[in-house]
Symmetry: D2
């Protein structure tokens, strides 16, 4: 029958929560003594016992017994061994339902802080990379077709800003997770004069939950985290797609450093962007974990149902995947080498300047749609005659519109980029300012979660 | 070939955005004149034309032409009909890529405001219902097994607080959506001296986007909305599950008013909770729409790709579904009749007081775990002898522990509930305060989004 | 840099495929010799080496080196240690791209066979349970409202048939997975005179893949499996919901044996149906894994991309979860005790016979809709006068329709059930035949996958 | 209160089922008369009435009344108008629960047949395209890096075979849907001597459902269809990705005909592959609909619950999306123009022949892994000296291995492709045979579902 019991056991994965679980118990024990619910001496013993258990776990000495269902039971049993019956006083005014919720919330808060740090390191790589090639113009794409020239650094900053929103979302999630459920008991609250605010202070929660039934059955903060993680991973899948495209021979925009490619064992020149492919693939498991927790919660009556135990493995998997992926990305992007010449040469393709040509006419008084039509005709003429905009004689231009004059040849990738000096645009001074601003944000940020 | 063209047409659903689209165009036209990019007179003509089109659409006179791909093309064509070639000046310094993003953001912001209002009406129903039966004690459940008595109003407030978090999430989503992308052009910014801040002010955006490439390919705000909507709908699926359970003959806790049940055409006494079932079922489409947009965005290279056109139908469906469901719920909950006597009688079942019995011993100095063991033995004795805790003689109690005395009979559902006077607990004074607080929140809230 | 390499390593999970991987290699080595692509002696050495490695892994002696990326590299390295350079001949006419596909297909085929056996054991429990209580009538529900009496065994057979479809789907999936990809090489086929049919025979594949590019990038069979697993788990979630409902005090239909409930540590009479709750919750991870693999595959260009490595962990998780859940269910259902008296007494509630009353009139010539209307009126009369159909005097009946006579009192739960003797209906003889047929199916089935 | 009623109304979408619904009713009416449950004359009247209603709906005259909840009620009401009270006899021995299941199953079966036809037309385009360029060699990719030369037609056949599996899955789904539920009544079977087999024959079902409770709550066939549709759409997303890549300037492999691209209004040479992008994007809604129905079904107790009404809109959306996408694809692929010269020239890149070089050595007796190492060294030498395999002098080759001789220069893209003559490989004779076989399959197939 042993294998049936395995079905309900969570010890093998919830032991990950031991730091949070013991911190919560210590705070609880302190509070119980302060409120004179238990003796100061008992509290001290309990805290000493818990501290010892924490050391045992940290050092690997602790023996996890999977016949004891979960982390709580494992720690409780060991506490009994260490300090005897007084251990039983720890659980006054507490149930596993509110205890596990404290544990996960604390764990998640720490994880978010560390993920935010990971994001910032990726942002730093992007800003560095943009800065390194700050004057390189590349083709900007819509529909994977070359559309208009942009600065490579502008493209890097696009990712920077995506990630900035991810941080913002994660912080909001942190805020909503940062509420202490302890004191909710099994579901109805506890019949002791506990000081919930004290515990919140001790454990660094900003607030306490207002309704016990809600508190023990709430996993919103997890879903919100999975959702923020999914958006973050979606961003990374987009970056990955571009890393893969740009590394292809056909694009030939970048090369990755050797650690981030795997060659075929036979074709040394083959540089497979495996890390980017794997990151793109891992988007699947992140989305899947989100769908998993949403499915679990659907249609559950209040309050605690055992289904909720299924909240943890997906969470840990998403945290681990996001963390390692960010780690890989910050280093991989550091090693990107841009083939500036190739990229720049593609940007000078004349058709990418068609929009600028139309804007040239608009400035000279032609209504926008009319200007569009004229330029369209010019481009078609060029295509049919296999020439290009730079080579078309001015007389020909003027057959399409007398608003054209010699200055039409001043339109270049450089002029195109420079003209877009609106806030948010790709003009060099804007992009340089953007890089500086980004650097400023990162400087104060890293290490502050 | 007509049917192939249908594949790319969005007119039939994006026409829903006409108010936002025209407001955006009017603000743009104003700005163009203010910045002297176009003539004041042209701007006025354009604005008058757009206003007329808005009236035509509102009154149903406007003829949508599905051979014109989308709302923008339909409005543009009509503007040409109304004011001639000057219409072509409107599109100076703008592209469909930034224009559609403005439209959706404005639409979503309005939708969120109205959804938040809808949530508040549901909250109001819950608070009213709790207030109406504020002294009724009901069984609180874990694992769908009766666990401890709680106040019915406490249960209602649990939902209130879930919904409160939904509002908080939706407002954060609103905040992040509330950034103007106009000025980003097709992808690289625009080469005109546009005043983006002016437009933001006109249209009520709090800020402008910092990177044009990001701006035209960002749909984060939609995913975030779908995710907040999924959590909200998950909450409603949980309420629905309980409405369905409580309406069953087996529970017999509540009845719904006739409008919210459908009888079988033959069994008039049958009161099927169809609205609650449908709401629970509709959770599926909300989750599905979230998964849809996540899938769409995965692995897309920058910037605009036509895949993004698929962002709208799921959005509209989720907004409509959430809106109608909230509407149904606020009215359905208003009509709930609680069978107080039935509910109360179940709450007095003695085993639900086992926890209180243990706490009774703890207060008398027995360590918690030991108290647990004693009460377990008492309960087993009762079960084996088919008696209950209230009927067990004091002598028998004292065989289990000498800490028991006559006061053990003072433990009742009422005493159990009252004892849980911790903040967040189910004690009457806490719950009444909670109802009041909730009422306060709602009073200032409704109508303010 | 070690931790970056971890990102691409799959050794810790793909080692699960060792039996399949080695069997595939042995068959390949045999074939290479048979076709005289390598020497018979070399082939023999290779096969002996592989056999030894298999023993080492089975006994736990084998040392997995996670600096070697995957299972293939680990086994290859060990083969070199054991037999020297000749080991290098094994990889003639093969690549990791087709090799891993063989491994997963074989693994999946075995898993399906064992899952089908697991399903049959659950079916057996259901049929046994139905047989044990074959004469018990219970309320049948629609909308969780009592609707018509049915046999308990009929309800059990409903699950039997759901599971029967699961088997059918899994077998179709097995059929489509049962095609050998070896010989596809990296993507283009191999330039050796390999005998693909021989290997297919050796490894028990029914066929060989017709296109090498498709073969190395095809994961359809995995998605199809995840989908079949999702439907199966959905069925189990429905059973779980009913086990939970029926175990509640409010329904009071069944009790589970002690191994399949967990009491609160304090309330020994509390019987939480934790296994059923967990099974219901685990539906989330199964759905999530399906969504994961669908996401991974979306939009991938041909042929092999490293994203595909992410196909395995979700697969293993789904197989393990399904396997253990089936195991739990077959035993849990064996221990279900039905409270026949309670269940039967609820079935005699008169309103559940309203449909029969209408059919009574129809048989006497009243059009169905009219009969409906009459019975509706009768029922409403009963409800208003707090009487019931059995107690209503015949005179009263005849006020509603003169087609009523004394025989109306012959309508009972028993008569209702018996009347539904159509194939698929709940009449006792149909249900008994159904139980027998099911037993027949199971008798020949178990152990035959 | 009108808008609340809208919540439960399905008329606006389930009217799509009218052909199936009326066919089912006619068969039912026939059977009722045949079994003498109703009068032959009544049956005839009913059938005439239903036929007239069908004509009215087909011609658009029928007035759908959304205050009548669904299609059944709308048709029933009209039948009463047309033939009076006898209409009420139609519903003898039937309920909406089994009726709607018949309707959806018939609708789905038709849809599958038509989707299979659509797939075959896409396959035909692919085979035609492959045939048109049957001698063109292109680079085969792994990791989006050029790996080995393959025939373009081989690539087309890879898609053909993916789609072939889709057909196989859809047919299995059709088989499992092809079972008649009528006779199950509301949930327990019907108390009339109905002839279910007769109805099955009339309506073209291969079999009848064996358990009434299962029958009215089973939506497996829908989930299975959504799953098969998801895999199909995933395949199309992969094709789309390649169409988009190949249409890019960087790849420059193909051009699409004008109807299947949209230019920017200003850049006439820009050929955005909008159809392929939209198809890729639409994958999201297909996955979302699958997730929707899985969510709906999770944890529902037997038998019919109103949640099931939510099964239809997602189904219709998936059917419509798949149908239009296949239609677009078959025509779009017909118009693909392959730039054979460009494609062929890329295939002659020497490093793509490295594998062949290793195989060359293996054939000369060098163990595979050793051969690999030698070729790797050769390639690295070439790369460092910016030469290539074709230009490397034979003396240099022989420094790496004396197994090399002049024949090494015979290795070309052509020889590489030809060497892979294994079944499933890319050798011209294999591919030509594959094209023929595919043509054969298609010839007998189209129009036969």
């Amino acid at each position: 029958m042993a294998d049936i019991n395995n079905y309900t056991v969570s010890t093998h994965y919830d032991q990950r929560l031991y730091i949070q679980d013991i911190a919560g118990s210590i705070a609880h024990a302190k509070m119980l003594a302060r409120q004179e619910i238990i003796d100061q001496r008992d509290s001290t013993k309990i805290i000493e016992g818990l501290s010892q258990i924490r050391s045992e776990i940290a050092s690997g000495e602790f023996i996890w017994d999977s016949t004891l269902e979960d982390i709580h039971m494992n720690i409780e049993r060991r506490l009994f061994e260490l300090i005897g019956a007084v251990a039983g006083r720890l659980h006054t005014g507490r149930s596993r339902n509110d205890q596990i919720s404290v544990d996960i919330r604390m764990y998640l808060k720490d994880a978010i802080t560390s993920i935010v740090d990971g994001i910032k390191l990726v942002q730093l790589s992007l800003v560095d990379l943009g800065g390194k090639y700050s004057d390189v113009i590349m083709p900007g794409y819509t529909h994977l077709q070359r559309a208009q020239p942009v600065l490579f650094a502008h493209h890097m900053l696009a990712y920077f800003h995506m990630l900035q929103r991810d941080i913002s979302r994660l912080k909001d999630c942190h805020f909503r997770a940062d509420v202490l459920p302890l004191g909710s008991g099994a579901l109805a609250g506890v019949p002791y004069d506990v000081d919930r605010d004290f515990i919140a202070d001790e454990l660094g929660f900003r607030s306490i939950t207002p309704n016990s039934m809600d508190a023990v059955s709430d996993r919103d903060f997890l879903i919100e985290f999975h959702s923020a993680a999914s958006i973050l991973m979606m961003h990374i899948s987009r970056m990955s797609e571009e890393v893969i495209l740009w590394s292809s021979r056909e694009f030939g925009f970048i090369s990755l450093s050797d650690e981030f490619t795997t060659g075929s064992s036979i074709m040394p020149q083959k540089r497979n962007p495996d890390f980017a492919e794997l990151a793109r693939g891992k988007t699947g498991r992140i989305y899947g974990n989100l769908m998993g927790i949403l499915t679990i919660m659907k249609g559950l009556p209040l309050t605690y149902n055992r289904d909720l135990q299924e909240d943890k493995e997906g969470l840990f998997d998403t945290i681990d995947t996001i963390t390692s992926t960010l780690h890989v990305y910050s280093q991989m992007m550091n090693g990107v080498k841009l083939y500036s010449d190739r990229v720049a040469s593609l940007s000078s393709e004349s058709y990418m300047l068609a929009t600028d040509l139309a804007d040239y006419l608009v400035v000279r008084g032609v209504p926008f749609r009319e200007a569009h039509g004229i330029v369209r005709a010019v481009c078609m003429h060029c295509e049919e005659n296999t020439t290009d905009l730079q080579s078309l004689p001015i007389e020909k231009y003027r057959e399409f519109s007398t608003s054209f004059d010699e200055s039409v040849y001043d339109i270049t990738a450089e002029s195109s980029v420079s003209a877009r000096s609106v806030y948010g645009g790709t003009a060099p001074e804007r992009v340089l300012a953007g890089l500086e601003e980004a650097t400023g944000i990162l400087k104060k940020g890293i290490g502050n979660g």
